[in-house]
Amino acid sequence: MIGEAARLLSDWSTVDTWIVLIAALAAMACALPGVYLLLRRQSMLGDALSHTVLPGIVLAFLASQSLRSVGWLDSRTLHAAQHAILFGGALISGLLTALLTQWVQRRGRVEASAALGVVYTSLFALGLLLLRLWADNVHIDPDCVLFGAVENIVISAEQRASVAWFTATVLGLNLLLMLLFYKELRISTFDPALATSLGIPAQWMQLGLVAVTAATLVTAFEIVGSILVVAMLIVPAATARLCTDRLGTMIAMSLAVAAASAVLGHAAALTLPALIFQPLGFDEVRDANTAGMMAVAAGGLLVLAALLSPRYGWISRALHQMRLSIRIAAEDLLGRLYRQAEEQSRPQEAEVIDHLGQPLLIRWLAAQGLKRKGYVRRVQGHWLLTDRGHQAAARVVRAHRLWESYLAAHQQELPDDQLHFSAHRAEHFIDRNLQAELAKELQRPAQDPHGRDIPGENGNGGS
């Protein structure tokens, strides 16, 4: 399978490099505004903008056509000028979206997402209407609009260079803006009211972000299409957010994820369809749309981050949960051994300790851990506490009995057996500082409510 993939990839040519380069530039340009949309919980706005820029694009296209027909633009400069005009059209539609949404929200007294829904569908419909009215003059291929056409762009050497330069410029501009307004974007995203009160108008920052997003979207349209561009906007940012709690790192990571999804997406587009479909007998399936596979790759990276991220990942959470279980099991074992030793010297009513359903593996790991630390040793099939183990165990029991005493002093209505159960849970979370505070508040009790001695701070005798 890997050999087969390598063989398919060995056909890699300059064209493929161009595809990856252009796709990566476009994805990175999208990822930057995406970070702020995600953090502002306005991901939907990106989706809306990807539709509402349509009337702007159509009008801009018509404008450039008529400029040519009146002779202001010759067909040579048209191509360069067209980009700028499209850009302007998209900017205006983007700003219109933001302002109309605010207006509908205020006038219609509806929530922001409802207002956005109204504006977004209306402007998109207007765009379709314009397209229909002047369909003769606007050559827009639906496939191209939906899925992008990076594969077509790179065929002509001249066109691919110009698209690459243009996309790189947009990326550079976005980077520059994000760096220049780093502070201002951060504060107006986190705390718009404070930002405005400090003289950094959060509303203007929002409009600026919308304008940048709209401009970036039109740039990315012809490369990844209007549907998949939303994935490029949000998924890298969401992936990065899972991996870090720092804004700067998040921005850098979202760029890396965007670039990686371009590389992986194109490689997957070349290999996966053949690898999957040819064994099934569909010989004619050779490759897939790069933009589509980029979205898939970005999605894959997101899943990976959700699994592996140090703080939010499922795996690290499961590991954390397991470490906690082991610690609790170890402390339970220490407590049990301590109480056993206590009973032998002075028999009294036994405290019942259940295992709280701890699995055998966890208990075994806990015991091994304690042995490694030199807290317990095994003598004739029985666990025994060492001196150090005795001290550690005394701290656990001290926490337990202090907590019981505290609860007894403050919650008379709680029955004794429940006291014990609550303390059995809480003892694992009461550290030395808390123990000291509890002891102080209870005026250093010598015994718990059941009449058992509370071990001292250093683990020996009564306090």
Binding site: F190, A193, L194, S197, T244
Partner: protein, 266 residues
């Protein structure tokens, strides 16, 4: 019925840290604050007290030009807010921001310096040190690099206070700093307010807990869509005034408001 709220002449003292003249604020044409006329006493701790929906937050936001005024004028130290931003510190409600934002405590405090640092300029070492100093003053130095979602409610509130402190303002407007905080934080906030007062600063604090008003504050501003009473706690914080603030007599005001909405055809 004594009306200590209205100066006889309508003249406002130019040196008052905050003077509000005939302020009316409306949402969708429905007034939520009516004809507020108020001069804050310099160097005092003032509690803003009133029932839910009485316009306490709106009053603060209107002063800071965060919500549009229907009419009236607000001056800080005799000048419009825009000209004296640096002398005014603001502590928004804790719930008003997204605590999942990827940022640590120190970076939140640095925000208090953004105006001073200026557009396009970077945060420098001296700013970081200033922010750290402010965190120390609220007892949060050890949490400087902690992601803010990992902080307790009380700790988050202290970070907000440190952010206001670092502005080194002369008047502070605080929106419910005591809500949802632990006893230790509450003590820390009171301590801090007293320190500010000792340094001649003024603080207007939206406050919910009527019981602690006499202990924590010098002056009180009783608000329920209009200014019910204001002045030293010992004189104004009376059962009679509280009944007027929290009592049901305002139904009339609300009904007039309703009429205005209907009459306005909105």
């Amino acid at each position: 019925m004594s009306e200590p709220t209205r100066p006889a002449t309508g003249e406002h003292s130019a040196i008052s840290p905050l003077s509000i003249h005939d302020l009316t604020v409306a949402y969708h044409r429905r007034p939520v604050l009516w004809d507020i006329d108020y001069d804050a006493p310099a160097g005092k701790l003032v509690a803003i007290v009133g029932p839910n929906g009485s316009g306490k937050t709106t009053l603060i936001k209107a002063c800071l030009e965060l919500v549009p005024r229907a009419s009236g004028e607000v001056r800080f130290f005799g000048q419009p807010y825009r000209q004296v931003r640096h002398r005014v510190g603001y502590v928004p409600q804790r719930e008003s921001v997204d605590w999942e934002f990827p940022i640590n405590a120190l970076q939140v405090v640095e925000m208090g310096l953004y105006r001073q640092i200026g557009w396009f300029r970077r945060i420098r070492k001296q700013h970081r040190e200033q922010a750290m100093e402010a965190l120390k003053r609220v007892g949060m130095a050890e949490f400087a690099t902690r992601q803010i979602s990992q902080l307790s409610g009380g700790q988050q509130q202290r970070v907000f206070l440190a952010r206001a402190l670092v502005q080194d303002a002369d008047i502070y407007l605080m929106d419910e700093p005591f809500v949802g905080v632990d006893a230790a934080t509450e003590r820390a906030i009171v301590q801090l307010l007293r320190e500010l007062r000792a340094r001649g600063k003024t603080a207007l604090v939206v406050h919910h807990d009527l019981q602690t008003v006499p202990e924590y504050f010098d002056h009180v501003l009783l608000l329920n869509m209009r200014l019910v009473a204001q002045g030293p706690v010992s004189e104004v914080f009376t059962e009679e005034n509280l009944r007027r603030t929290y009592g049901g007599k305002l139904a009339l005001l609300d009904r007039v408001g309703q009429k205005m909405v209907q009459g306005g055809g909105a």
